[in-house]
């Protein structure tokens, strides 16, 4: 019995493929519509993933620079050192005495002349602190609390760009979500209509099969397969479109990012994400077909 059932499903699958192949232009257009519609949110998602990995690459371990007051003595340095040692969020830190800082500055190429003219060392003692990886809000709190220490003149945390990137990514995720939702609804509607037309042209066949004892699921099956297969093909099309875009833009992108001394090039969706895309697109096609079938088939009752 299971074997018969499997054969039936296999036959429906083959029949649906045949139908798609027999109307190549219509099928291709349908798949193209789904592919293009999918490629927008999925492409945005791909971009987002890449930016995320970029931001991770740069801000892997956040750094704070603690500048001590100019008149800070050895005791003050020791006090700060102890506090840092006990601080739970601090992973490691490095003390940079003002003399060393000056020396480093003098060795730096373009500043040499200017620094050489200085009468006394204008630089403060400093600690460079590596913290645990945390969100920019947490880091900012950390910055504020350290700022309040009496020995500290200024805590620098270059959070601006990280915050901007963070906010941008958040916005990006929202855009992807909204875009994805809207286009998914549109695709369900497109599939709904496609199946509705198919049901109308097959009205007679459906009526006859009902009369000779076809169950509802038997009648629905080819339409559901059609939806799922076309959805799947749409997903594949979207994947290919994005692959093409990456191919075209990557050279230019590498040239551009090298100017910023960043190694950045677009990578296609991971295999898991690709699989999710295909499963989701097939499911979406199935869902559109299912909604259409449920709302239209009951209207065709034999008289």
């Amino acid at each position: 019995m299971i074997q018969v059932w499997l054969i039936q499903h296999w036959q429906t699958f083959i029949l649906t493929l045949k139908r798609l192949v027999l109307a190549p232009i219509t099928s291709l257009l349908g798949i193209l519509v789904m592919g293009i519609a999918f490629s927008l949110p999925v492409g945005a998602y791909m971009l987002l993933k890449n930016l995320q990995s970029l931001s991770g690459q740069i801000a892997d371990s956040p750094q704070l620079s603690l500048y001590l007051k100019l008149n800070a003595n050895q005791t003050a340095v020791e006090a700060v050192r102890q506090r840092l040692q006990q601080h739970e969020r601090v992973v490691r830190f490095q003390f940079i005495p003002k003399d060393v800082a000056l020396l480093q500055l003098q060795q730096g190429s373009e500043w040499t002349d200017m620094v050489g003219d200085l009468e006394h060392n204008p630089l403060p003692d400093a600690f460079v602190v590596n913290t645990q990886n945390a969100s920019s809000e947490v880091l900012e709190q950390l910055q504020t609390s350290m700022q309040a220490w009496s020995e500290i003149e200024y805590v620098q945390f270059d959070s601006d760009w990280a915050k901007r990137l963070d906010a941008l990514l958040k916005l990006g995720r929202l855009v992807v979500l909204i875009l994805g939702t809207i286009l998914s609804v549109a695709l369900i509607a497109v599939m709904f209509n496609t199946i509705r037309l198919q049901i109308l042209t097959k009205r007679e066949e459906i009526e006859v099969t009902k009369l000779i004892g076809a169950t509802d699921s038997f009648i629905q099956r080819p339409f559901l397969y059609f939806g799922a297969i076309q959805g799947f093909a749409g997903g594949v099309m979207a994947w290919l479109i994005i692959a093409l875009i990456i191919q075209i833009t990557n050279d230019e992108l590498v040239t551009l990012t090298q100017l910023y001394t960043i190694d950045f090039h677009l990578q296609h969706l991971s295999s898991e994400d690709s699989l999710s895309l295909l499963v989701f697109s097939a499911w979406l096609g199935w869902l559109g077909a299912r909604l259409s079938v449920v709302s239209h088939l009951w209207q065709i009752e034999p008289k």
Binding site: M1, V4, W5, I7, Q8, Q11, E204, E205, E207, V208, T209, K210, L211, I212, G213, A214, T215, D216, F218, P302, K303
Partner: protein, 220 residues
């Protein structure tokens, strides 16, 4: 012999108020062959449709081989219909596929095993004399051939009951006798046959039972 089809005080009133059948009572035993006669509009088609649950009775019970059709759930109707071979007045042939594939349909639906399917179809086509036309498209068949195609489709899955609504409708007398002969041969192998007709010439020398309908009531 057990009862195959029983109508118990069945009435059918359509939503537009037309009272198609009034208090119908009869029983057909397994293996019987019965005619339903009457003028057009007398309720013949309605009676046949009630058996296949295409229409539901307004009141009364219809029992088909022990099953009460009037109480059947929607999801159970397909399985009732698989026990019945239906031949429709308007034939309902699918013109987008050849003769073979038209006859294939009931077997596909009832999940017949792949290896028996072709044999069954050819046996059915052989019985109605269409074996050489299995690849033909129905549009090129004559009226009589189309009717025989319908019969092949109705019997291919070997139903216990065969129901035909005006099967000789537009056929000349020789063709009609031919087709009645086929029904008789199905009946001889045990199929319960129910035929609705207004064609009196078919009934002249019949020894089979006749249910005569007049304005929705049984008269004989």
């Amino acid at each position: 012999m057990h009862n195959m089809i029983s109508f118990k005080n069945v009435s059918k009133r359509f939503p537009d108020g037309h009272h198609a059948l009034k208090n119908i009572d009869f029983t057909i035993e397994a293996g019987e062959m019965v005619f339903v006669t009457g003028h057009s509009g007398a309720g013949k088609s309605t009676l046949l449709k009630l058996i296949a649950a295409i229409e539901r009775p307004t009141t009364g019970d219809i029992i088909i081989s022990g099953q009460n059709v009037s109480q059947l759930k929607h999801s159970a109707i397909p399985f009732l219909r698989r026990n019945i071979g239906l031949i429709f007045q308007d034939q309902k042939i699918l013109f987008d596929r050849n003769v073979f594939d038209n006859v294939l349909l009931p077997l596909q639906i009832a999940s017949f095993e792949h290896k028996v399917i072709a044999g069954r179809i050819r046996a059915a086509l052989d019985k109605v004399g269409l074996l050489k036309k299995e690849k033909t498209l129905p549009i090129t068949l004559s009226g009589g051939e189309r009717q025989r195609l319908c019969i092949a489709r109705a019997v291919v899955h070997r139903p216990a009951i065969l129901i035909a609504d005006e099967p000789t409708g537009n056929l000349d007398i020789d063709y009609a006798k031919d087709i009645m002969g086929m029904f008789r041969s199905f009946n001889q192998v045990g199929v319960t046959v129910l035929i609705a007709t207004h064609d009196a010439t078919l009934l002249e020398d019949t020894q089979h039972r006749i249910l005569a309908l007049k304005q929705g009531k049984l008269t004989a």
